[in-house]
């Protein structure tokens, strides 16, 4: 049995976990749900040994776990698979697995042995493996998830922790994944799944622990609860009544798209966009046009060309052929990248300086080559106010902002430049429900005022709720979804029909 008693953990002034108790039994799939920021990641990081609790203890089968070392946790029998990939991209998948528990020799022949052992395990779990010698770089996202799970299992752990595993899987791959989980259960292992998808948790888990703001809100059996109740437990009664687990509140008015803008010329046109790299077609003849007031949603599992598309739109990648046209000048399009810490913010610069990264704002506050510092700072203060970004002021460093506030800043920056077109990629990833609703509202307001939005996301709920037109991106191709096909199941089929397996 995996047990945690009175776990407490702080980060600076934030209390991440407050006297959390947790139990999971052998042969059980235990779901851990909660908003982003509720403490799920912290808790499993403690289980997996990456973090040490300030107070409290974790025991596995009665033996106490010495925290602070992922390696020690591995040896104790706890293996974890995280959201961000931990594979070595340039190495072959055999080498990757050999670095797990499969390989312990010192010569190449053992590399083959490791691969064999991996194959046996994979067959038992119903996995398929990439071709021999393939580097992880060339593997699809689904394959990578499976490789990571394999590697975790190679240590023969008593406990397997999976952090948001289904986020990158296409709907068709989910069945295979469920099969794997059930097999693990019959083997007597403990499986802990962290997820924010309540429907999935209910479908898969044997028991569900709900975390809210660092505390255990409840432990439920899936048979005696439903998504609505879980949502209520996750975010509290009052707030829950304004939201459901399926998306933003129906109370939020759908603003009718009647902009005072000419409809003739679309705001953004992408024509025959092709990007070839290393012999592979990353973008395959992409054509889409977004009119003013329109929110064009692009659904798809990560790794089907979305990142490359965003890079082309941001202008940092040159397409092999084809191109895009924006209605007004070059500053009329603002792009919010998926990875805000790498591509979005410069953490060592101040907030007002981060705002100036947007070209439109740089042009405005850097006329003739000179920075108008005081004006830029004042503008920043105003923006922080308007978008309710909690910070230590315009001259504080971006690193001090929490994740949610960083994203708010990124959105604020994009909108503050008065763009005509907004391209956003997974803009609500990692945000709690409240922040998500807020961002959605701003996107709707932007569209209502005549802006055009290209909404690239892997969150189907978000896409269905917001999009006026919907596309699915698979293998670098963009497929339009007819209105009558706009339900999650159908879209899922479209996504997986041509998706990697």
């Amino acid at each position: 049995m995996l047990a945690a008693t009175a776990i407490t953990r702080r980060f600076g002034r934030t209390l991440a976990l407050d006297r959390v108790d947790f139990q999971a039994y052998p042969g059980e799939i235990h779901a851990l749900v909660g908003e982003n920021g509720a403490g799920k990641s912290t808790l499993i990081n403690i289980f997996a040994g990456r973090l040490k609790p300030d107070r409290g203890a974790v025991t596995l089968d009665g033996a106490a776990l010495a925290g602070g070392s992922a390696h020690a946790a591995l040896q104790a029998g706890i293996a974890a698979v995280y959201q961000s990939p931990m594979l070595f991209e340039r190495m072959s998948w055999e080498e990757n697995l050999a670095l797990g528990g499969f390989g312990a020799g010192t010569s190449r022949s053992d590399l083959a042995g490791a691969a064999d052992r991996a194959r046996i395990l994979a067959t038992r779990l119903g996995f398929s493996l990439p071709p021999a010698g393939a580097t992880v770089e060339r593997c699809s996202v689904g394959e990578r998830v499976r490789l990571e799970i394999l590697r975790a299992l190679s240590f023969d752990p008593r406990v397997l922790i999976l952090d948001e595993p289904t986020g990158v899987l296409a709907p068709a791959e989910l069945d295979a994944f469920l099969y794997t989980l059930r097999r693990l259960r019959t083997e007597g292992r403990i499986v802990v799944i962290v997820t924010h998808k309540l429907a999935e948790a209910i479908a898969v888990a044997d028991r569900i622990t709900v975390l809210r703001q660092g505390r255990v809100a409840a432990v439920r059996l899936p048979t005696e609860t439903n998504a609505a109740e879980l949502a209520r437990l996750m975010i509290g009664d009052v707030a829950a009544s304004a939201m459901t687990a399926d998306g933003p509140s129906p109370i939020v008015k759908r603003v009718a798209a009647t902009p005072n803008v000419e409809h003739d010329a679309p705001a953004l046109v992408v024509k025959n966009l092709i990007l070839v790299n290393d012999g592979r077609r990353l973008l395959d003849d992409i054509c889409v046009s977004v009119a003013a007031g329109e929110i064009a949603g692009v659904a798809g599992v990560d790794g089907n060309g979305q990142r490359e598309l965003v890079e082309v739109m941001a202008g940092i990648r040159t397409p092999t052929s084809g191109g895009l046209r924006v209605a007004a000048d070059r500053n009329a399009m603002a792009v919010i990248a998926q990875n805000r810490d790498l591509d979005g913010l410069i953490l060592d610069l101040t907030l007002w300086e981060n705002l100036l990264l947007a070209r439109a704002l740089r042009d405005r506050f850097a006329r003739g080559g000179w920075l108008r510092r005081s004006r830029a700072k004042a503008f920043c203060t105003d923006v922080l106010d308007r978008y309710r970004i909690r910070s230590a002021g315009a001259t504080s460093l971006a690193v001090a902002l929490s994740g949610g506030n960083r994203q708010r800043l990124a959105v604020a920056r994009a909108l503050a430049g008065d763009p005509r077109v907004l391209v956003v990629h997974d803009v609500c990833r990692g945000l709690d429900l409240r922040a998500t609703a807020e961002v959605h509202r701003r996107l709707r307001e932007f569209a209502a005022a005549g802006g055009a939005v290209l909404l690239i996301s892997s969150d189907l709920d978000e896409l269905i709720a917001l999009s006026t037109s919907l596309y699915v991106m698979t293998r670098g191709r963009l497929v339009a979804v007819a209105a009558r096909d706009r339900d999650a199941e159908r879209i899922g089929l479209l996504m997986s029909g041509a998706a990697h397996s």
Partner: protein, 366 residues
């Protein structure tokens, strides 16, 4: 650390503490060498500031460090590791020393301007070359600038042994520059000259450029996050070449000033390692152009005093290299420890480091 006052004071305190620790370690080294630390430091001080002449000479010796220090600071702000300030200074000196003799009939201010321009051009060419290699051919600028140092030294050697050699051919030195091209000394017998004023002006200009211009902002952004800079359309290639060219130009002007004010001609060696010393200067100054001036004076004092130290205590002046290296090491170790907490520094604990930073929880999710 950041734009706040406490942040700045803390940074200054760290520089001071680093110097203190370096002093302590040097004392130990001196004892090991059989010299008395007190005597040595006393001689250092006397050599640097003991007399009026010594003090002015300290300022004279600090001037090239201001130019090269500025060069380093600007490049480092863009995370462009210019280790080639020596070579850039030499090329600037070479250009100035080459045209100097021909400026005889020129109006004095114009001749000086020509010398400065030549220095800037020579240095800019040398730095820009490394910048181009980095931007277009992905060549690591650390290696390229160091290689260019060696090449520049040979070009200078060839020049003073060959085409530019002075007529009597008795000693490897170049033709003396025309009187119109020389910067005069003020308050003789001191060697104070207007080149020092130029250095101050350039420091001021660099400060303005770095923190008040759009390009300066873009350079600083580039130095802190390359990917994000690329994403927002910051012209990385252009900045790389431009910043390294500007950096080279500053060093080159330093070389030209040396020729114009002090040496009046070219010799086989024009730099006793200022380009490397400047790294220590720039780091002590936290890459801040205005702070370069006091930092340069500090190291200039060390250089000046070290000769007295050699005479009095028989300790090699190369000791200043040891001091420079140590100061850099202590400073960067201090910065790391301050940013992450001492325990994290030794045992590597990003968790503790995050706690020390007070990072909010959500920042660590995802």
């Amino acid at each position: 650390m950041g734009a706040t006052l406490t942040g700045r004071l803390a940074a200054v305190a760290r520089s001071a503490a680093a110097l203190a620790i370096a002093t302590a370690i040097i004392s130990i080294v001196l004892l090991a060498l059989g010299a008395s630390p007190l005597a040595v430091f006393g001689d250092l001080w006397r050599g640097a500031f003991g007399t009026w002449l010594a003090a002015t000479d300290t300022l004279v010796k600090s001037t090239p460090l201001v130019f090269t220090g500025l060069a380093i600071a600007i490049a480092f702000q863009g995370a462009l590791w210019n280790i080639g300030a020596d070579g850039q200074l030499v090329m600037g000196a070479l250009a100035a020393g080459a045209i100097g003799p021909a400026l005889g009939g020129w109006h004095h201010p114009i001749a000086i301007a020509a010398m400065i321009a030549a220095g800037a051009a020579g240095g800019a060419f040398w730095g820009g070359l490394a910048g181009w290699l980095r931007a277009r051919r992905e060549v690591n600028e650390v290696i390229s600038t160091i290689m260019l140092n060696f090449v520049a030294a040979q070009v200078l050697s060839w020049a003073v042994h060959g085409p530019l050699m002075e007529p009597s051919r008795s000693f490897p030195k170049s033709v003396v520059i025309a009187p119109a091209a020389r910067l005069a000394f003020y308050l003789e017998p001191s060697r104070l000259n207007l080149g020092m004023l130029l250095a101050l002006l350039l420091a001021l200009g660099s400060q303005l450029g770095l923190f008040h211009s759009a390009s300066g902002f873009e350079l600083r952004a580039l130095g802190r996050n390359r990917r994000a800079s690329a994403f927002f359309g910051i012209p990385i290639a252009r900045l790389t070449v431009g910043a390294l060219a500007l950096s080279g130009a500053l060093a080159g002007v330093g070389g030209a000033v040396q020729v114009s004010a002090i040496t009046h001609r070219l010799y086989e060696t024009m730099s006793p390692g200022w380009g490397y010393e400047a790294i220590a200067v720039a780091l002590v100054a936290r890459l801040n152009p205005l702070a370069i001036v006091p930092a340069a004076i500090l190291f200039g004092a060390l250089d000046n005093g070290s000769q007295a130290m050699q005479r009095a205590d028989a300790v090699s002046p190369v000791l200043v290299n040891v001091i420079q290296g140590m100061v850099i090491i202590i400073l960067i170790a201090f910065d790391a420890a301050a940013a992450r907490g001492m325990r994290a520094a030794f045992f590597g604990d990003a968790d503790a480091a995050a706690t020390a930073n007070g990072e909010a929880l959500e920042a660590r999710d995802v």
